[in-house]
């Protein structure tokens, strides 16, 4: 309970000294003690445990355009900071706080957590192919960090958990960039050819956060399906570790993106068609990009050199099919199962799905 005498005395001392004391008049939600949950078994003082009392009330609409912490008392003289996202449905997922702490607990260091000593000569073609893939991976890491970072200045403090988690996504993007750059420059190779990157425009051009999220779901799930082949693709222990660590990060990103999109679909079903439009765009760019160095490089690796590449193309096609399947699988989790019927025609071919016109002839 507030001890009024102590506070009154403190106020008096401050005032005598010409210091503001009105902060002592603020009604305190006394007794919020998150530390009580901070046991080693609980993972320490995780951000989830702060959401008690008024501090845990995440409003549907946040009406303050300053950097005021959620739960603090406003100083109405503060300038507006230019945030543009004030709707919970646009960004929210209940998983954010936990995923933020998970990202920190799972943090890794590309300098010391990858067994670089295990790198050894793997033959010219394979080295070229690994370096080509590394170049494209770096590009995606860079794009991910840049485009995610851009949204920070849009999201208000009301949804602080989302922003904290996105901070980890930015950092993971940096590591995705540099770990693959290191791989390219460490083993007698060099960088390959950059991608055309039409496929990234839906990320860089997004006008709404949810548009950015669906484009991210597409790219991340495609990447994840590839990373899951790490065992098969890795030439050395170092690469195996890189695939494993990147996979863990991308899975975390997808956990948020998918849970957010599921939340949006439940809260604002009216936006379903709009979201489909963003997917139309993202898929169109992906299909149209036509930059096949990724799949050709995979073929050289799977074929153990350029001679075997042609034959390995069937396996690569299967991997690309898995990528689309993974994408559709994540969309099903977001209550967007209807995407299967609306998937881009080109991507249907990648997935080995019959054309929509043909599908309509099949009796159900």
């Amino acid at each position: 309970m507030p001890d009024n005498d102590v506070i009154a005395a403190a106020k008096e001392r401050l005032e005598q000294s010409g210091l503001p004391s009105d902060w002592l008049d603020i009604p305190v939600h006394w007794g919020v003690k998150a530390k009580e949950q901070a046991t080693p078994e609980n993972g320490g003082l995780r951000f989830e445990y702060l959401n008690v009392d008024v501090y845990g009330e995440v409003p549907e609409y946040w009406d303050n355009n300053t950097e005021i912490p959620r739960g603090a008392v406003p100083d109405t003289r503060t300038e507006q900071m230019g945030y543009s996202i004030f709707n919970k449905s646009e960004v929210w997922s209940d998983l954010c706080a936990g995923l933020y702490e998970d990202a920190i607990a799972d943090r890794w260091n590309s300098s010391s957590d990858v067994p670089w000593d295990s790198l050894e000569p793997i033959g010219a073609d394979l080295e070229r192919a690994v370096c080509q893939i590394a170049t494209l991976m770096s590009e995606y890491g860079w794009t991910k960090a840049q485009t995610t970072g851009r949204w920070l200045q849009e999201i208000s403090y009301g949804y602080i958990e989302v922003k904290l988690f996105l901070g980890t996504v930015v950092f993971d993007g940096a590591r995705l960039y540099e770990v693959w750059r290191k791989r390219a420059l460490a083993n007698g190779g060099g960088l390959g050819r950059g991608g055309r990157n039409w496929k990234f425009l839906p990320l860089t051009q997004s006008y709404t956060f949810s548009e950015f999220v669906v484009a991210s779901i597409m790219h991340d799930s495609m990447l994840l399906a590839l990373l899951r082949h790490g065992e098969q693709l890795a030439q050395t222990e170092a690469e195996r570790k890189i695939y494993e660590l990147c996979q863990q990060d991308i899975e975390r990103h997808l956990a948020y993106f998918v849970d957010h999109m599921r939340y949006l679909m439940l809260k604002e079903p009216v936006r379903r068609e709009e979201i489909h439009r963003y997917m139309n765009k993202a898929e169109w760019y992906l299909a149209k990009d036509g930059d096949d160095t990724l799949y050709s490089a995979l073929a050289v690796i799977m074929g153990d050199g350029r001679e075997g590449a042609e034959e390995a193309m069937a396996d690569v096609a299967e991997l690309r099919r898995e990528q689309i399947e993974t994408y559709l699988g994540y969309l099903r989790q977001c209550h967007l199962a209807d995407r299967e019927d609306r998937l881009n025609e080109e991507l249907r071919k990648w997935a080995g799905m019959v054309e929509l016109e043909e599908e309509e002839k099949i009796p159900v």
Partner: protein, 355 residues
Amino acid sequence: MVTVDKLDELQIEPEVPELDLSWLNLDTEWGVSAEPGRKGLTLQQINKTLYGDIPATSDDSSARPRGAAAPEGATPRMTPWVLGDATETFSDSAGLLYDEAVSRQWSSATDIPWDTLDELPEDIERAMVQLCTSLTEVEFIAGDVPGKWLPRIAADHYESGLFLMSQVMDEARHTDVFRKRALANGGGLLLQGGGGGLRQILEAEDFTQMSSMLHILGEGFVQSLFRLGELIAHNEAEKRIFRLAAQDESRHVAYGVTHLKYTLEHEPEKAEEVHWTLDMFEDTLVDPDQANPGLAGALVYLLGDGDVDEGWRLFWHVRRKQVLEYLHRLDVAGLGGRLETGRLHPALAGALDEN
């Protein structure tokens, strides 16, 4: 809707991608190797070849990593513009600072001994949570700012990009740890007010101007304060928070100083612009009308442990150190002379007076 029964009928062979092996014969630098050193395979170690050459200017707005071959065929512009001049964003230390950031990440959940937070007298607890309310606010903006600039960093100057990405992470942790402290020990969040100046950092449209406000003056003051965190802290948890956050801030300040140094070495005429920015930002920082009513009071109260006179004495000790370190940083960056020329704001110059 595709049902499971229908799936088999809908399944045909997936289309096979076209095989294109032209990338097997590129003229990018080849035969490059790097050996892990004492700290593993750092950016410093892979930057030893041509891939480490920093172009003075870059007009590449794409994500293509420095040194990679350009793609064939048409490519889109990925961002309206990038800061292609290295003098705009570069720092010779950015790569090193990024490496350091990665190896010195910490967890506010597990690296702070929260169990050492004993019950504090109510006035002290209130002052501490007021300070933390203000700090979580300041840190919030400190993360938004690098995020805003990321799309404008040229991939050819990736070291600066990586550094800013690590800063976004660090500031998330700072926003989080001060919120945690506010809510951990019976207090709560009090009066908003990160103080004037946050908006100026966010709205700046010149990177070097932004960086001199954020990294050198703003975070410089914060770092000097955190390094004296022992004077504010009442337990091991609080000490550790200030110590770990100060360590992060040192990197942010170092980036700002080395960036300004790089810029002024290559473009000395930019000095006056930065002076002008600092004139404005110093003015905001000491403007009583823009001061956060909670921050100063809480800080003085904590410094004196409830004894306001003693708190004031220590406040000026802190302020003096802040100003001295600020001037030293400017010296290192090649922007010395603010005190000597009478350009330093009188309220800050006054802090140097021992009396």
